[in-house]
């Protein structure tokens, strides 16, 4: 089953709405609450990254009986050094973003922890594509 959600860059008040929708769906599908939690936590971080660092994006969700595959694509500045971005505490967040309580540089590491597979590809000045896969079994 496929679902698609838009993510608006810069709008922190709406950040989390796509991941909440996915959460609702997973609850209806009787997925184990612990796996729902892991999935939603990683999707939320990914969604916030688009809001905080990119211009716009979307979340494509594909749910099968054994796994959920989510692709989050954005149009934005891209990530020049992915290994560096993956490090705990590394952040390029602006002071304004930090003031809103984001920018600890914990998002990507948190996604890694809460997903079974995570793949990032990024092109500077074009955008970033993040794939998250979690297995239900």
């Amino acid at each position: 089953m496929e679902f698609k959600f838009e993510i608006e860059g810069g709008n922190f008040s709406k950040a989390g709405s796509a991941s909440s929708e996915v959460k609702k769906i997973l609850k209806q599908l009787n997925v184990n609450p612990k796996i729902i939690k892991r999935t939603v936590v990683s999707l939320y971080e990914a969604e916030v990254n688009v809001v905080a660092h990119a211009f716009e994006g979307n979340m494509n969700v594909d749910i099968d009986t054994d796994k959920i595959v989510v692709k989050i694509e954005d149009r934005g500045p891209g990530i020049p050094d992915i290994d560096q971005a993956m490090q705990e505490g590394y952040s390029t967040a602006t002071p304004q973003v930090r003031e809103m309580g984001f920018g600890a540089g914990m998002g990507l590491p948190n996604i890694k922890r809460n997903s079974d597979q995570m793949n990032i590809t990024s092109k500077v000045d074009v955008g970033t594509e993040l794939e998250i896969i979690n297995y239900f079994g």
């Binding site: 909440s20 609850k27 939603v40 939320y44 009986t65 239900f136």
Partner: protein, 455 residues
């Protein structure tokens, strides 16, 4: 053991219900449907919050209570009171009178449950320290919230603190105390005067405990009326406050908002009113809110002062309770005499634990995921046909709810009045069939001939 059948004290009186849908639209778990012209509550989904009762314009929803005379089945009859009860009475009624009148009703002992808060605060601090990796902690205070988490937020059940609320601690205290005085188990009857339906459900179908320590429940409005009536008739003058009891500010404030949250260190939030609570639980579940230590969550607006069985306006009740707390604080004895409950502290703390709260999600469409997916696809297809205006004329609170009911075999798509019109226009159902469907939802009497010209 968790029961399969959940006891609910809230009942719809069919003869009074006019099928107006007010209750259906406010229910936070979408537990209500209108069928045959009256509201029906789904027992698995209801969390006993009382929102429906508060919204009903004709008082068709009542809170069932145990027969009062059952107290006389016991030699020792203990009335456990919530402190909010003391805030219900007019200012010229004294506490001494209230206590006396409750005894005159037939109780041998009267005790305010919030006298047990110190035992709980102490144990809660220890619990949070010991399980610090499981923060944020959610209080087990409000039974409606515990049930809400079970049915709607199954991932959060482990965050609920596994300790008894003060009512149960008080019940255990009194039972032990009377046993120590030589009374047998079956001579002791413990009755809780409840401000809400949720506490009744907690006594009748406890969560995390095998059996409740309470023998029966008495509705607060019932006690209020009885007590006030006899006070009005007797006109005995007494002092406003008793001389031999001291109630701490902690105890009196416990059932009010911030009563718990103000007692613990770290980041503690106090949230009242069930929709506010749902908003926060959503964020908590997504880990949008982190770095919180303790959550005091209550279903009623302004906590138990806003309980469905409260008779007084909640703002006035709160003001009175604050005044009461201030009086006791000013008149605190220089040397605090040892309170009886303190003698039992070790015993009570040894028995204060409850088992893990089990989730019982009402959200899943099917336990088999393959089937659930099929159902979800079907729901999405139905949603494309329904108008999406959530009018409730089908007897379900939202189009989405009707679509789910259809897929679960609990409703027919043709209950939607828009679909009925379209199908009738296309000749797929006859006007009579359409009329019959509406009668099934709204009951025959709704459609009895009314002459438009009479008005």
């Amino acid at each position: 053991m968790e029961q399969i059948h959940f006891y609910h004290a809230l009942k719809v009186v069919d003869e009074v219900c006019i099928g107006c849908t007010h209750c259906m639209n406010v229910c936070p778990t979408a537990a209500i449907r209108v069928k045959n012209g009256t509201a029906n509550i789904n027992k698995n989904a209801c969390v006993d919050c009382g929102e429906c009762l508060k919204a009903c314009p004709v008082n068709a929803i009542i809170v069932e209570q145990d027969d009062f005379t059952q107290i006389f089945n016991y030699k020792q009859r203990v009335a456990l009171l919530p402190t909010v009860l003391l805030g219900q009475f007019p200012d010229d009624v004294s506490e001494v009178q209230i206590y006396n009148e409750i005894k005159d009703l037939g109780f041998t002992h009267v005790y305010e449950v919030d006298g047990a808060v110190d035992v709980l605060i102490d144990s809660t601090k220890k619990f949070m320290h010991k399980h610090h990796q499981e923060r944020p902690f959610i209080s087990s205070f409000c039974p409606a919230i515990v049930r809400l988490i079970q049915v709607k937020f199954p991932a959060l059940v482990d965050n609920i603190i596994q300790l008894k609320p003060v009512i149960d601690i008080s019940a255990q205290f009194y039972r032990k105390k009377l046993q120590d005085k030589g009374y047998a188990q079956n001579e002791i009857g413990i009755f809780y005067v409840t401000p809400c339906a949720a506490k009744i459900a907690a006594v009748k179908s406890p969560v995390g405990e095998e059996k409740s320590l309470i023998d029966g429940v008495i509705n607060m409005d019932f006690i209020y009326n009885k007590v006030l009536l006899s006070i009005k008739n007797s006109k005995k003058e007494t002092k406003k406050y008793p001389e031999n009891i001291h109630m701490s500010r902690r105890s009196i404030g416990w059932t009010l908002t911030t009563g718990e949250a103000s007692r613990y260190s770290g980041r503690c939030l106090a949230i009242d009113e069930i929709h506010n609570v749902i908003e926060v639980l959503e964020k908590l579940e997504n880990e949008e809110i982190t770095d919180v230590d303790f959550l005091e969550l209550r279903a009623c607006d302004h906590s138990c002062a806003g309980g469905v069985l409260a008779t007084e306006n909640r703002f006035l009740a709160i003001e009175r309770l604050r005044k009461r707390a201030a009086w006791y604080h000013r008149n605190k004895p220089m040397i605090m005499p040892e309170r009886e409950i303190d003698l039992y502290k070790t015993y009570l703390q040894e028995n204060i634990g409850i088992s893990k709260v089990e989730p019982r999600s009402i959200l899943s469409l099917d336990s088999d995921m393959m089937v659930a997916m099929k159902k979800m696809k079907k729901i999405n297809r139905i949603m494309k046909v329904l108008p999406g205006i959530d009018c409730g004329a089908c007897g379900a609170p939202r189009c989405q709810a009707l679509a789910e009911d259809v897929v679960q075999g609990k409703a027919k798509m043709t209950q939607c009045v828009f679909l009925q019109k379209m199908l009738t226009k296309e000749g797929l159902i006859s006007p009579q069939e359409s009329f019959d469907i509406s009668e099934d939802t709204w009951g025959k009497s709704r459609f009895e001939k009314k002459n438009l010209n009479d008005h």
